[in-house]
């Protein structure tokens, strides 16, 4: 069967199968649900980004002169809550994962399409509740809402924000549950575990964390609400309760949560690099098993967020050692990606630029995590901008870059159009420059002693803060550009072929965009993953 070189966009696909608002709001097609998520998650990204801009504006000057201290507390809290629960945790699984997981394993849809739609509605309900909470006063505890401030002292809307996070948690649990069942039960004939794309392994590992970890933050939120509303003082020291118990329960989820954020982006990078190095991934088994190892080990390290909180020093030692252990599988992945590049035939397309950015920035973020895992150093830099820089290198330099790389890589498949490559590369460059200008100074600031969550600071820190704020405006431009040209491309972009990148993978063996049931006939898989020796550019195999 021959590949159709330039498929007509009028051919039936999941976008033009049905029109009308009901066909979108009541859809059970995983691809349409992915687009619903794309719109809503992008919206919340800009809300979170807006708070970030206000924070950076305040920090232009040492004095607290833009907003009051209480308002500043609300700004960084809302920035964190929105970015963590409404952007970083859902973005790659709900947008790229939802779209690609069934196609990559050769099936028609996820195992539970209606639950998939329910996941989106839960996300929307949670988001609406969070917006209402913000517009009517917000929360000022930091996104970590520690007891006893959150349970006994603050007057802000903890229960409402907590309920929003609780509902968003269910959205996350249902997505993870759906992926696990789909990957176990619905793979196409011949699609063994070791023939699956690493993107699938990454989402499988992520789903394990979502299912096991999210319920613990759910019960933590319930306990905080119970203490506030029903006077059930479970964390109340006056009764003998321990505020550190809150922190244990909170971080038992919230540390694995950061692996929920990074693993899917790692999966994206594992797809992009082989394609634009024209080489099979080096060490497939190691990368696949590392994903699962990260998921499991990620549950063993949570108390490294509590080293200076008053916990036992002996337990702290154990958690410190375990935190070094969890870096190993991540390092294995970085080595394998690098080895894939070695002697590859590399092209610097936009997705590849983002993948390169990911490699460098995630590595820096990860290494600085090791600094923090050392007890002695942590005493010095905890709760400073060093920590802020560390996690932004991973969240923004890692997760967000992976996401943007993935959006560019699969945009032709999703929309049937090519984005303008020149603008794509320019935006990637702007993002990279803006990112480093924003966050590198923060490592120095933190090491020099500037605390986080402070709205004023000593004058000697101003230069670095000004650099950081300047960087954030550059970064904002870098993020706005793709919004503009992706939208532009839907009308004016070059019509995409089925496999514009000559990439390996079942998703490239169906049309761009795919039909509603993904394939005209169920694919039979008799080839290994990343079969790039046998795929010449512009001659992608077809298994229809």
């Amino acid at each position: 069967m021959a590949t159709v070189a330039y498929p007509s966009p009028e051919r039936q696909n999941y976008l033009n199968q049905e029109y009308g608002i009901k066909s979108w709001l009541l859809t059970t097609d995983h691809k349409r649900i992915a687009l619903l998520y794309l719109l809503s998650i992008t919206f919340f990204f800009f809300i979170g980004g807006f708070f970030a801009l206000l924070i950076r504006l305040e920090l232009l000057t040492p004095a607290g002169d833009l907003v009051q201290a209480d308002t500043y507390n609300k700004l960084f809290t809302m920035h964190g809550l929105v970015m963590v629960f409404f952007f970083l945790i859902p973005v790659v699984p709900a947008v790229l994962g939802n779209f690609l997981v069934p196609i990559m394993i050769g099936t028609k849809d996820l195992a539970f399409p209606r639950i998939n739609l329910l996941s989106w509605y839960l996300y929307i309900a949670a988001g609406a509740l969070m917006m209402h909470c913000m517009l009517t006063g917000g929360v000022d505890t930091g996104w970590t809402f520690y007891a006893p401030f959150s349970t006994a002292f603050t007057n802000t809307k903890i229960v409402e924000a907590g309920l929003a996070a609780f509902i968003a948690g269910f959205s996350s649990i249902f997505t993870g549950l759906n992926f696990i069942v789909t990957i176990h039960r619905m793979r196409a004939p011949g699609m063994t575990w070791t023939r699956m794309p690493l993107f699938i392994w990454a989402h499988y590992a992520t789903s394990i964390i979502q299912v096991l970890g999210t319920p613990v933050i759910a019960i933590t939120i319930v306990l905080v609400a119970a203490e506030r509303l029903l006077h059930l003082g479970i964390f109340d020291p006056k009764l003998g309760g321990d505020p550190l118990l809150f922190q244990h329960l909170f971080w038992f989820y919230s540390h694995p949560a950061v692996y929920i954020m990074i693993l899917p982006s790692m999966g994206v990078v594992s797809e992009i690099i082989p394609c634009f190095a024209r080489k099979r991934i080096f060490g497939y088994t190691f990368v696949a098993l590392s994903s699962v190892a990260i998921a499991v080990f990620g549950f063993l390290v949570w108390a490294h967020h509590m080293f200076v909180a008053g916990m036992s020093v002996y337990a702290a030692l154990i958690f410190s050692m375990l935190s070094y252990l969890v870096a190993v599988p991540s390092a294995i992945k970085v080595f394998n990606w690098t080895a894939t590049l070695y002697k590859g035939s590399i092209s610097y397309t936009t997705p590849m630029l983002y993948a390169f950015g990911f490699l460098g920035l995630f590595t820096m973020g990860g290494l600085t995590g090791l600094f923090l895992a050392a007890l002695g150093i942590d005493v010095h830099v905890t709760d400073t901008y060093f920590v802020v820089a560390h996690f932004h290198y991973i969240m923004v330099g890692g997760v967000l870059m992976g996401y943007l790389g993935g959006m560019h890589f699969w945009w032709p498949k999703i929309s049937g159009r090519m984005y303008p490559e020149g603008w794509g590369r320019l935006a990637a460059l702007i993002v990279f420059i803006g990112f480093n200008l924003t966050f590198f100074p923060q490592f120095i600031l933190g090491y020099m002693g500037m605390p986080r969550r402070y709205w004023q600071y000593p004058p000697e820190f101003q230069v670095l803060n000004v650099l950081s704020t300047a960087g954030s405006t550059v970064l904002a431009v870098g993020y706005l550009l793709p919004m503009v040209y992706f939208l532009w491309s839907m009308r004016y972009g070059k019509i995409a072929e089925d496999n514009p990148w000559a990439a390996a993978g079942l998703e490239w063996m169906t049309t761009s965009p795919p039909p509603t049931y993904n394939f005209e006939e169920t694919p039979v898989v008799d080839f290994e993953a990343y079969d790039y020796e046998n795929i010449k550019a512009k001659e992608a195999p077809v298994a229809r």
């Binding site: 849809d109 996820l110 539970f112 696990i180 039960r185 306990l223 003082g233 118990l245």
Partner: protein, 230 residues
Amino acid sequence: MHDSPITAEHNPALRHHFSDMAQQKNAASLGMWLFLVTEIMFFGGMFCAYLIYRLAFFNDFSAASRSLDIRLGATNTAVLIGSSLTVVLAVNAAQSGNRKRLVTYLLATIFLGCVFLGIKAVEYKQKFDEHHVPGPTFDFEGEKGAAEERPVVQGHAQLFFVLYFLMTGMHAIHMIIGVGLFSVLTLLAWKGHYTSSYYTPIENSGLYWHFVDIIWIYLFPLLYLINRHH
């Protein structure tokens, strides 16, 4: 494996993204077990709090535990185990395609579930009357001890009752959801919705109910039997 969505004779309950009923049933079952794992972790947070505070404040927890009515607790345990039996018999009836027995056992399950909740309500009322509800009205009589220690003992006892109400309350909420779920299923079963070739919702709801039973199987000794021989 062919792809045409409709064949001449497939089970009307087959959802079209599945290739056959076996795959659909397997998927639904795995999905329900995964959901139960989330419930294990959800209750697990409270068990963690319980473990830590019981080890720290054993004597005061024991005294508070002894103030619970063991007869009501044991009776409720028996009632809940009985309702697990009726659920199993309901699934058995569905497997045999026996609609009347299915409906009967579903109703029996709902009845026993409501008995459990009723006894729970009686217990809660008892605790309310004895001023054992945490909050501003809390006042634990306790055993005779030094007067200076009383505030500490009160605090620890209140922690016990915080956990008691949180854990049994969360359990009761899950029971109520279960009763609601079975009510819907009973209606559908009575209308003939379930046959011997499709009764997956009955089976999976049964799994949920058994899980709620298992939670109580642990709550009973942990809350009621801490140190009865004192």
